[in-house]
């Protein structure tokens, strides 16, 4: 006699909130994927790190230590490989701004790092070791501030080289920071307020022009 196999839609012991958490995590990962890119060498072969689409006019933020060359290649969320130019770079805050000649990109929603508390859920997405769209879930460990403003978020997420330049996001998929390094096993991200200031300064210097202004 053939063994009876329970249909997969049979009621489970899971509470509805647990199922909702699982579903929302999948939705969250899909959202974050839609604005996370891979950054590669000019030949397109060597993975260097990750990046975040900051503006629909083709502006991408990554780490300065990822974008060491002026000419690079970016792997877009739809997997298309496009040429990118590094238009601004600041090693003191480890940020770089790339431009790709592609319109209608989906820009990342930006969150408020000052609202992050120890224990808040966070998610990191990136291309560690060239693996596309690897996701890591954790909680905020600590937020360090500078003159009252958030500067770094240390998070209990597993990061590897290649996560650099990718987003650290809150439970709503809003970018709290750009993952930049690993310290004592903790992922450390540069907070989005620092990224905003860097992008504003790059635009003010005339490094690149955009068709419509950035949100404040």
């Amino acid at each position: 006699m053939a063994p009876t196999i329970a249909p997969t839609n049979a009621p489970t012991m899971l509470g509805t909130s647990t199922l909702a958490v699982g579903r929302e995590l999948e939705g969250l990962a899909a959202l974050v994927r839609s604005y996370t890119v891979g950054v590669r060498s000019r030949s397109g072969r060597q993975p260097l790190g990750s990046g975040v689409i900051w503006h629909p006019d083709g502006l991408i933020v990554t780490n300065a230590h990822v974008a060491r060359e002026r000419r690079l290649v970016v792997a877009l969320p739809n997997e298309a490989l496009v040429e990118a130019e590094c238009v601004a770079r600041d090693e003191s805050c480890d940020l770089a701004l790339l431009h790709v000649d592609v319109e209608g990109l989906r820009a990342a929603p930006v969150g408020d790092p000052s609202a992050a508390r120890a224990g808040s859920l966070v998610l990191a997405l990136g291309h560690p070791m060239g693996v596309p769209n690897a996701m890591s879930l954790g909680v905020v460990h600590a937020v360090t501030t500078e003159r009252g403003n958030p500067r770094f978020i240390a998070a209990d997420v597993a990061l590897a080289p290649g996560n650099s330049g990718g987003p650290l996001v809150d439970a709503d998929g809003r970018v709290l920071g750009i993952n930049a390094m690993v310290m004592s096993g903790l992922g450390v991200a540069i907070t989005s307020n620092v990224v905003r200031r860097f992008v504003r300064q790059a635009l003010a210097s005339g490094a690149i022009t955009i068709s419509h202004p950035l949100a404040a």
């Binding site: 909130s17 909702a20 958490v21 929302e24 995590l25 939705g27 969250l28 508390r117 120890a118 224990g119 808040s120 859920l121 954790g138 909680v139 905020v140 460990h141 600590a142 240390a154 209990d156 809150d170 439970a171 709503d172 998929g173 004592s184 096993g185 903790l186």
Partner: protein, 305 residues
């Protein structure tokens, strides 16, 4: 947008906030401070291995104030130490009701205060089991292994559930590979003993042993349960084993009728309840088994630091 995730996130942050009131920084070593938990009114429990000085210990509370602390006692065998604060200092931790077991897969947070602010790590309970003995022979009521990263300064901090209730004290000093939690029940028992007597009572024979493989013929001839015994490599002058005539080269194969083949088994068997009582030791001397009776002594707290 994502309501369940956002509320889970809020709950976790709220659990950290609630539990953080009882989490303190313990300044008792040179490098970064370790963590501790206000376990009872004016009493802090921390990890023994992080208390590297006995005088001039200070504790930073949740409200940012620093207070002096005195060392009540320590139990190296369970890696716990108890400190006394001035009365009324700190907020006492909340625990789950007795009988609520820690379960595999349960979402947990490890908290630490390696500086002014409390810090958090999240994970799940990866394994649970029954009572076990540490390397140093300490009895831990329940085996709780975590799939969670314990960062610098986290030892002595609490493991909390999603409601912010303290399940135990985390230590990196009990196992090499993974973070372990000393369950609340064990902490309670050890803290009570330390508060009453200043140390945890441990049995003592005064021998140093090393595992040795026994010849197959000897194992067969004397129907020994195991093929490894514990060779006596030192005997302390005047100690209980010395008084009972145990000598260098004797191989201990059983303690009170139970086969022993690892030093931790012998340490584990020498619990506080044995102190002052005679126990039968089966030894091999010159290849022949014989029984000697040792009256178990009490190990001084100082001898083990």
């Amino acid at each position: 947008m994502s309501s369940a995730l956002q509320s889970l996130s809020d709950d976790l942050a709220a659990a950290v906030e609630a539990a953080s009131r009882s989490v303190v920084a313990v300044h008792a070593r040179r490098r970064i401070p370790s963590s501790g938990v206000v376990w009872r009114e004016g009493i802090v429990v921390t990890a023994h291995h992080t208390v590297q000085r006995e005088d001039g210990i200070t504790v930073s509370l949740d409200d940012g104030t620093a207070v002096g602390a005195t060392l009540v006692g320590r139990d190296p065998s369970t890696d716990l130490a108890v400190l006394r604060l001035e009365p009324g200092a700190g907020t006492v931790a909340q625990h789950p009701a007795d009988g609520e077991e820690i379960r595999v897969g349960q979402l947990v947070l490890a908290l630490g205060r390696p500086g002014a602010a409390v810090t958090a790590a999240m994970g799940v309970v990866s394994a649970t089991g029954g009572e076990w003995r540490t390397w140093h022979g300490g009895r831990i009521d329940r085996f709780v292994r975590l799939d969670l990263a314990i960062y610098d300064g986290f030892s002595g901090g609490p493991l909390v559930d999603a409601q912010g209730r303290v399940l135990g004290i985390n230590s990196s000093g009990l196992a090499r590979a993974a973070a372990m939690t000393i369950p609340a029940r064990t902490v309670e028992r050890v803290a009570t003993q330390l508060l009453e007597t200043g140390h945890v009572r441990r049995g003592f024979m005064g021998v140093g042993v090393q595992p040795v493989r026994l010849p197959a013929g000897t194992v067969r001839a004397h129907a020994l349960g195991r093929d490894v015994g514990l060779m006596v490599i030192s005997v302390e002058e005047g100690a209980p084993a010395h008084a009972a005539g145990v000598s260098l080269g004797d191989i201990i194969v059983a303690f009170d009728g139970t086969a022993v083949s690892d030093p931790s088994e012998l340490l584990g068997a020498l619990s506080g309840e044995r102190v002052g009582k005679p126990v039968s030791l089966r030894i091999l001397r010159g290849g022949a088994p014989q029984d000697v009776t040792v009256t178990v002594g009490e190990r001084s707290a100082r001898g083990e630091r």
